[in-house]
């Protein structure tokens, strides 16, 4: 089937090649910072989150018996909206800090997940397969995502304590 299509094309007056600003590898990254002025309550979470460390990409890590448990923060789950699917890695996957390890799909978008630490995935939260909404309802407890080994425990020191994380959120909301 032949189709005649007219395509509007390119200007003949091409500017000289525009130069690319290479992306700075070390630039601080906001995770989902387009929702300003949403009141945030940490109080219900703080009792649970006392041992939590945070990344500037809004993931949390809690260490229990040498294993790191990873999830996303309340700020992140609110910004995401209702999670409809959790794409998690296979057990045994080896991750380096900042590696993409999966994605959460919500009505907003498919949002990638980045590993806060270097280690191997030892367990994934299988409850999320049938109940992805746990990530919204109980992001610090039942909505955990993966468990992993801690190959470089010193990486924990690079993460934010709860107070520092709270300050960080306030600063990006302003």
């Amino acid at each position: 089937m032949a189709m005649r299509t007219v395509l509007a094309c390119v200007s003949a007056n091409f500017p000289k090649t525009l130069s690319l600003l290479p992306r700075a590898a070390q630039r601080p990254a906001y995770w989902l910072a387009w929702k300003p002025c949403v009141p945030r309550t940490f109080s219900t979470a703080s009792r649970l989150s006392s041992a939590l460390k945070f990344t500037d990409k809004h993931e949390w890590v809690r260490v229990e018996g040498g294993t790191g448990i990873v999830g996303i923060s309340n700020f992140a789950q609110e910004a995401l909206g209702d999670v409809v699917y959790c794409g998690l890695p296979e057990v045994g996957t080896k991750l380096k800090k900042m590696d993409e390890f999966g994605a959460l799909e919500s009505v907003k978008a498919a949002s990638e997940l980045y590993s806060p630490l270097t280690g191997e995935v030892t367990e994934i939260n299988t409850a999320l397969a049938d109940n992805p909404g746990l990530v919204n309802k109980s992001c610090y407890k039942d909505g955990w995502l993966i468990k992993m080994t801690l190959d470089n425990p010193s990486e924990l020191e690079e993460l934010l304590e709860e107070d520092a994380y709270e300050k960080y959120i306030k600063s990006i909301e302003d």
Binding site: A8, L18, L20, Y30, G87
Partner: protein
């Protein structure tokens, strides 16, 4: 200054145009987009994998701080599923194979769409802070409204674009990365609606899955509403509106997705999108429970099939058939060998042909075995 060119585009033949960025005297350097504002890019390819790879490339390689990029692309016939979808659930894979329609899985979420040259794809790249899908859709409807004031196209809360408040002409999906984001959407201008409807209907019975489902909608082409429109006119109008909105110069950079010099690393990205592991293997685990009747000469039997599939591979398999029709050892033999195999008709046929040699040599059993295997493969 705009140059208008008219092209004859047939299904089987495509014109390939040299990127105006390239010079015959020098090798291409990597794509550069400096300064504030942004750019408008248009793909020279109609290959769905190449175009999806360009999206990945821009997302991964371009600093979008303070920038807005619009990427326009069209594909020859293809079905594109969302990142966490199940192709067996979403489309008619057999029909697609017969028509040479490609299957791609994109990295954004959302549902399944059919692409052909009558559909325009638009990708809006921004950094995460500036991610705003409704803003993009409003820009599209504004441009269409200027083009044809009497045509009623409006966005919904679900971020579809509806024509006359009823027919879907556009669907949206998006991806959020570390610092960048993109929102892409389709726009039905002059697509083959009959083919669209038939390929987006899965014949699969008894499939249970928690993959993200599509929301089927009645669709219509913009050209059916106004035959004086075409893809070119519509793209032009959108480009005009986009340049106005973001204060850009009205020019379009043509992108050749096969060009490794302009887009270093793109070949691997294109390859990755075509692997079986990505297209089919990324399917969330699912199960198929179905029964069908097998007939040989004057005898028939009901067979019950239960297959669990994980990462596109058969994880468990149970085939129940009356003993009088086919010995149960043969069914168990088949079922056990299917485990670990891809949930794929050609792979299954290869396997079952090999297994046939180990079967008893009776002609009747051979025929019945073949009938069983064909039917099992047809489920895939």
């Amino acid at each position: 200054m705009l140059i208008r060119r008219a092209f004859d585009i047939c299904v089987k033949k495509q014109h390939v145009f040299k990127s105006v960025v390239s010079s015959p005297h020098s090798t291409l350097s990597p794509l550069n987009l400096e300064g504030g504002g942004g750019a408008i890019l248009k793909s020279l390819s109609t290959n769905v994998y190449e175009n999806l790879a360009v999206e990945d490339w821009i997302h991964d390689n371009i600093d979008l701080q303070g920038k807005n990029i619009l990427f326009l692309w069209r594909n020859s016939s293809a079905v594109v599923i969302g990142r966490h979808q199940n192709p067996w659930q979403e489309c008619n894979l057999k029909l697609m194979r017969e028509h040479g329609i490609q299957l791609a899985r994109r990295r954004s979420g959302g549902g399944t769409v059919y692409h052909d040259m009558g559909n325009i794809n638009m990708t809006f790249f921004t950094n995460k802070k500036k991610y705003d899908r409704m803003k993009n859709l409003n820009m599209i409807t504004k441009s269409l409204n200027k083009l044809r004031p009497q045509m009623d196209v409006r966005p919904t809360e679900r971020l579809d674009l509806l024509l006359n408040g009823h027919f879907k002409v556009s669907g949206t999906a998006a991806k959020l990365g570390r610092t960048n984001a993109y929102h892409h959407c389709t726009l039905l201008c002059n697509s083959d609606r009959a083919l669209l409807s038939s390929v987006l209907k899965s014949p699969c019975q008894g499939l249970k899955s928690n993959a993200t489902p599509s929301v089927p909608s009645p669709v219509k082409n913009l050209l059916e509403e106004d035959p004086t429109l075409d893809c070119g006119i519509i793209m032009d109008s959108i480009v005009t509106e986009y340049t106005k909105q973001y204060g850009l110069d009205h020019h379009i950079i043509l992108i050749e997705p096969k060009d490794e010099a302009t887009l270093p690393g793109i070949s691997k990205m294109t390859q990755d999108l075509q692997t079986w592991e990505w297209v089919f293997g990324k399917t969330p685990k699912f199960s198929v429970s179905t029964s069908f009747k097998l007939g040989y000469k004057l005898s028939s039997a009901m067979v019950t099939l239960n297959i669990a599939v994980k990462n596109g591979t058969i994880d468990s398999c149970n085939i129940k058939l009356p003993q009088h029709w086919l010995p149960s050892e043969m069914c168990e033999h088949l079922a056990s060998h299917l485990i670990g195999n891809k949930f794929c008709p050609s792979e299954t046929t290869r396997l079952t042909s090999a297994l046939l040699r180990t079967c008893p040599q009776s002609e009747e059993l051979h025929h019945k075995w073949n009938i069983l295997c064909e039917n099992v493969a047809s489920v895939m």
